[in-house]
């Protein structure tokens, strides 16, 4: 366990370093910099702004300053102390993503603090939809193998995997907002606002989960211990729920890691369609507005999030299935 976690931590550190290094280098090698707008700034002001954000430093020094709590100063290589800028910025490694380049009264931490809970909530709603729909459809399919129900479920699953969520969202908005006016078209705040985006976001994953559940259940249902359970006279419901489900859901658990990453990705589009002020819309805006610190902060945060979630899922997997050892992963 300890060995597994420390190894994962090491790989995460390497990944993190790689992502930060590449995106930082790309970001700072841009000619003109983030403050070259259509309206030219006065050169003196520009110089002051650049100094305030330490853009006049050599790039390696900027990177070190961005990453670590090194408290670098203007003088010398690692000179400490006086800085022209007055920001008490400490560095990404201690959880400070610095000031936003565009929203000048906000730090990146402020913006993430406001929008991450919204995205997380949307993701949770989506995963709940995905699990509820996917698992029940998969079980029903497996129990009625070869029936019309099974066939239609599988076709629906193929559709759910093939169709982009913004296409599904368009159809559902027309259906549930215009034809049958039940739900609000966009916005955020109440449960009603969450239902439709969550559903659209979760549907693709529901489709995949139903496939995995079906395959897993079929495999388990053909095993000896299920026959034994039937033979000793347990009710069919008990056999399925108590004995088959645990084994049948194992593939679903291992899929939860990639699914979470996918939910984060999908929310980029859905947050835009439904006008939800989450991390996704902030990221797209930041990227198109060249708000580099914000875009980079979100990227780095998601790298860590996805990595840790995957590690957690792998851990959960070994707890559910003792046959799998952590070193195998």
């Amino acid at each position: 366990m300890i060995r597994f976690l420390s190894r994962r931590l090491l790989w995460m550190a390497i990944t993190f370093l790689l992502v930060s290094l590449v995106s930082f280098t790309l970001m700072h090698s841009v000619k003109g910099g983030p403050f070259s707008k259509e309206r030219k700034l006065d050169p003196a002001i520009l110089a002051n702004m650049e100094a305030a954000y330490h853009l006049d430093w050599p790039i390696w020094k900027q990177y070190l300053h961005y990453m670590g709590p090194l408290n670098l100063g203007d003088e010398g290589w690692f000179g400490k102390g006086e800085q022209k800028g007055s920001d008490p910025f400490t560095g990404v490694l201690v959880g400070d993503f610095g000031p936003s380049f565009r929203y000048q009264d906000f730090t990146v931490n402020d913006i993430i603090g406001q929008s991450l809970p919204i995205s997380a909530l949307l993701g949770v709603v989506a995963m709940m939809w995905a699990l509820a729909l996917g698992v029940s459809a998969g079980i029903a399919s497996a129990l009625r193998r070869g029936s019309g129900l099974d066939l239609s479920m599988r076709l629906a699953a193929t559709g759910g995997i093939a169709l982009p969520n913004f296409v599904i969202a368009g159809f559902l908005v027309i259906l549930f907002v215009f034809l049958i006016p039940l739900l609000p078209v966009a916005g955020w705040g109440t449960l009603k606002h969450m239902l439709l985006p969550g559903f659209c976001l979760g549907l693709g994953f529901a489709a995949y989960i139903s496939r995995l559940t079906r395959t897993g259940m079929l495999e388990v249902l053909s095993q000896d211990h299920i026959r034994t359970a039937h033979a000793k006279g347990l009710a069919p419901r008990t056999v399925v729920m108590r004995h088959a489900l645990k084994g049948g859901l194992l593939p679903v658990v291992s899929y939860l890691g990639p699914a979470t990453a996918g939910v984060l990705t999908g929310s980029l589009v859905l947050e835009r369609i439904f006008n939800i002020p989450g991390m996704g819309s902030h990221f797209v805006n930041a990227a198109t507005n060249r708000d580099y610190t914000l875009a980079m902060g979100v990227t780095l945060l998601y790298t860590v999030l996805v990595y840790s979630l995957n590690a957690v899922v792998d851990l959960a997997y070994t707890l559910l299935d003792p046959r799998i050892r952590l070193e195998d992963q």
């Binding site: 790989w11 995460m12 390497i14 990944t15 790689l18 992502v19 590449v22 995106s23 790309l26 970001m27 841009v30 000619k31 003109g32 193929t158 559709g159 995997i161 093939a162 169709l163 982009p164 913004f166 296409v167 969202a169 368009g170 159809f171 908005v173 027309i174 907002v177 215009f178 078209v185 990453a261 984060l264 990705t265 980029l268 589009v269 835009r272 369609i273 990221f283 797209v284 990227a287 198109t288 060249r290 875009a295 980079m296 979100v298 990227t299 998601y302 790298t303 996805v306 990595y307 995957n310």
Partner: protein, 374 residues
């Protein structure tokens, strides 16, 4: 043929050996491909998906030949017209059709920003056949008064082009990387797969969006190298989607290296290139094709996704992602422009569904584990 020493050891007379060899030659083995084709033909869904895709591909390739309205001409006075099935009018390039002397530049200027000479030829053929007739707005018009039907068809060209080129690019990287890793083995293999692991765990979508916006700043420098936004799109998407391919190819190569039939080929004295091209490549190829058919819809989706966010294809070019974005942008609580959402979505949905179904069918047909079973 075979030398006599080995025949004696096997206790065979030369004439028996000749007969056996002749029998062996007459026994026609079923190749992987004919077997797979037979299996695929039996899969009705996959077959119809293939027909549909071929028809769709032809339509999109020959789009300039079809009598359709201009996909780019803006006419704000006819914006948001609902779909009507009328016979159409003869407004298409009318001023040019009147006198018979149209130049390529005129067509390009009047029609579409970037056309190659083949497309111009197609348009000339179309003018010769259909004259200046064009259909009515069978699928309505969008916010700029452009015909939705012809935008869907012309958009399919971009979407298919991006999907094919980017998939092939990812295929190239993935196969070379995976095959090298599998063939070299040892610590090189280990290192190469660790790199893939690291890349897997990067949330690529963010890095890609980041990259694409940054590339806007290098636009002029890149254009000097002949790299425009489309090329960047191919490269970036291709660079994201090669990981699975590399893993799969490496696994297959590793497994094949120690397969009995490869050993058998080596025992009967086949040369290394022969083993490689007669035994290893065809077996890797089948799995490569399976993953290619599954990568193409994924890439198409990714392009639509990027274009939807305004980071992919740029106007005046049109792709399905842009059409979907236009459709959702037109959604408002007052009036419902359903045709802007429904028709592009149907086009995209049917194509992606067909690609996925064909991919599934191909996997069933080509998967070595399914061979010999039904």
């Amino acid at each position: 043929m075979a030398d006599h020493g080995s025949l004696e050891r096997l206790g065979l007379k030369p004439e028996d050996a000749e007969r056996l060899l002749k029998e062996a030659r007459e026994f026609k083995g079923e190749s992987l491909w004919s077997d797979a084709w037979r299996r695929l033909r039996r899969n009705r869904v996959a077959l119809w998906s293939m027909y549909f895709l071929v028809a769709f591909g032809l339509m999109s390739f020959f789009a300039p030949l079809l009598p359709m309205r201009n996909p780019a001409a803006q006419a704000p006075e006819i914006q948001f017209q609902s779909p009507t099935l009328n016979l159409g009018d003869s407004g298409y390039l009318q001023e040019y059709a009147a006198d018979d002397k149209i130049t390529s530049e005129e067509i390009v200027n009047a029609y579409w920003p970037e056309m190659n000479s083949l497309d111009v030829l197609f348009v000339k053929v179309r003018l010769a056949v259909f004259g200046s007739w064009q259909p009515g707005f069978w699928m309505g018009t969008d916010a700029m008064g452009r015909d939705v039907l012809s935008r869907i068809v012309w958009g399919s060209r971009t979407s298919i082009k991006v999907a094919l080129i980017a998939s092939l690019f990812s295929l190239l990287i993935g196969v070379v990387y995976g095959a090298l890793s599998g063939l070299l083995g040892g610590w090189v293999d280990n290192l190469m797969m660790r790199i893939v692991d690291i890349l897997y765990s990067i949330p690529f979508i963010f890095v890609v969006i980041f990259l694409i916006t940054l590339i806007g700043d290098y636009k002029q420098a890149l254009e000097e190298w002949g790299i425009d936004r489309m090329v960047v799109l191919y490269l970036v998407i291709g660079a994201v989607y090669w990981l699975t391919m590399a893993r799969v190819v490496r696994g297959q190569v590793l497994a094949l290296k120690h397969k009995e039939f490869v050993e058998a080929a080596r025992v009967i004295g086949a040369s290394t290139p022969r083993i490689l091209f007669a035994h290893v490549v065809p077996n890797v190829l089948s799995i490569v094709i399976i993953y290619l058919t599954l990568t193409i819809p994924a890439v198409m989706l990714f392009e639509a996704f990027l274009s939807f966010l305004g980071l992919g294809v740029e106007a005046p070019e049109v792709s399905w992602g842009i059409l979907a974005a236009d459709g959702t942008a037109a959604i408002n609580p007052l009036r419902l422009f359903w045709w802007l959402v429904v028709f592009p979505s149907l086009a995209m949905a049917s194509t992606l569904l067909a690609l996925n179904l064909l991919g599934d069918g191909l996997r069933d047909a080509l998967d070595p584990k399914m061979r010999g079973k039904d």
